[in-house]
Symmetry: C2
């Protein structure tokens, strides 16, 4: 059966049946709009797009994988402000000949990833389109904290990382060369493992700036450096290369540091903290902030790609 045969309202009912709306949902799908609790009197909101053939491939990722990734990319943005995600809204553009089961499995993946942080899918919209596209908006709550923005890094701060980098990029390279293993890396491309709790924990510990690493560590740190008018130096020695990544890099003729320092889509969080801060669990020091501009690695300009441009 195709979506055209199932009909719009039939498909909506099948999708909504797959969703958990979460504890913050006061009114879920089915009306003109959803209503979500915002106890802090401020709501944090972010939107991220995944396009078929560009951000994912249906022969590499299941519908559920795509749902997990689409949710993770947005939930990570909320966490990177130091907020706790509360809800997702999903804009889903689908070819009319798509199997409705694909859309249902996508919804299941979105809902399951949101459920990791107690959030739910509260609404959205569907349309037919030649290009399968998933645009998700995430909402979150600051629980009385100030948002941790990109502009607060100060010379002397330590640079810290929560979560992993390079894994999703390695998985993408592996898949694009026609391989299916190692599982660790391929799965990281399909479903990022995002350290959601590390975001609010960093905010509570006094992080001066924070960002979700979606386009590559060096490129995303460049946004902090520019917004804060500081220089940032990354200590390459702080990155251990997992054995499976070292083997894959060697077999494929890739510099593993290009994955670790410039690979996107793992949705690690990078933050700066005043020197001497006891880092919360899950955070490790990977560099420092200094007077100046730009991002360096071991004091030198990085020679490889810095990361992803969505129109390149």
């Amino acid at each position: 059966m195709s979506i055209a045969e199932a009909g719009e309202f039939g498909l909506i009912a099948r999708i909504v049946a797959r969703l958990e709306t979460g504890t913050a949902s006061l009114l879920g799908p089915g009306d003109d709009a959803a209503v979500v609790a915002a106890p802090d009197r401020r709501v944090v909101a972010s939107t991220d797009i995944l396009v078929d053939g560009r951000h994912f491939r249906r022969d590499w990722s299941s519908a559920s994988d795509v749902g997990h990734r689409a949710a993770a990319a947005n939930l990570a943005d909320i966490a990177a402000m130091g907020a706790a995600p509360t809800a997702l809204l999903v804009a889903l553009c689908m070819p009319a000949d798509l199997d409705p089961a694909w859309a249902e499995e996508l919804a299941g993946g979105l809902s399951a990833e949101a459920g990791l942080v107690g959030a739910g899918v509260v609404g959205g919209d569907m349309s037919s389109s030649p290009t399968l596209t998933v645009a998700v908006t995430a909402l979150g709550d600051l629980d009385g904290r100030q948002p941790v923005v990109r502009s607060g890094a100060r010379p002397g701060d330590v640079l810290a990382l929560a979560g992993r980098t390079g894994h999703a990029a390695a998985g993408y390279t592996i898949l694009s060369r026609g391989f299916r293993t190692p599982k660790l890396l391929v799965e990281a491309h399909r479903r990022p493992e995002v350290p959601y709790a590390a975001g609010p924990a960093a905010a509570r510990a006094g992080a001066t700036s924070m960002i979700d690493i979606s386009d590559g560590l060096l490129q995303d740190l460049g946004h902090i450096a520019a917004a804060s008018a500081v220089g940032i130096d990354v200590d390459r020695g702080a990155f251990e290369i997992p054995a499976q990544m070292r083997d894959a890099a060697s077999a494929l003729g890739v510099d593993p540091y290009a994955w670790l320092l410039a690979g996107g889509d793992d949705h690690a969080l990078a933050a700066t903290f005043p020197a001497g801060t006891a880092l919360p669990p899950g955070w490790r020091t990977i560099g420092r902030v200094h007077e100046g501009a730009g991002v360096t690695v071991d004091g030198r300009a990085w020679q490889g790609d810095k990361g992803w441009d969505h129109f390149r």
Copy 2:
């Protein structure tokens, strides 16, 4: 110049320069997420998609028109809950060869329409895609009121309408037959005139149910009838046919009531009120709610199309 040549970050800067972020924006574009005031401790949220070639045509509508329409479709959903819109987030998928000026003008249209209700564009995402797509998420504030949902209509209630129906559908038919006039109808397709203030006003006046008429009056009233487990009868005599619509219908061989009762995209608001309610300004009675099921016109089943299915 194409978007690919302008580069992602250059284009973001050009677009952000066109945006007003509105009074509720506490942190606008440029960070991982926006922060929007939610004084009510609840946030109303809705998402709507416009796809090139399906919801708009670039030879019929300017980029600014598309921006106005994309914003209006979402702001109307917020108003239909009885809430005041506060902010928009925009997911924009664009072919890499699109002229960046188109995206800038779109942003200007989105921002201008949001400005009509004091809301602003606070964030979003961009991606390249073969299919030009605008997915907007709107947020709003209830100011202490209960949301007006679809399920509250009761037998004996009066059915009322704010805003116009049939105009956008007539404009669409006119354009699709190769004509460009009458302006009133063609412009209604390009830029709906939404009675935003009528939503919160209806809530304050005690509306028992409300809906944004996006897919056609009869189809959308069907959602209220089903959710409320009531029947709704529409009084056809309550609809005046504007002279320009009558002339266009006659010239094109169309029943003007098909436009008025089943045409979408004007984003009028329909609501039910307890009998005897003094309707707020802008609202007029167009029918009544009774025990039963379904939607009738002058007591009989409507023979024409009821409205729009996005996968038909």
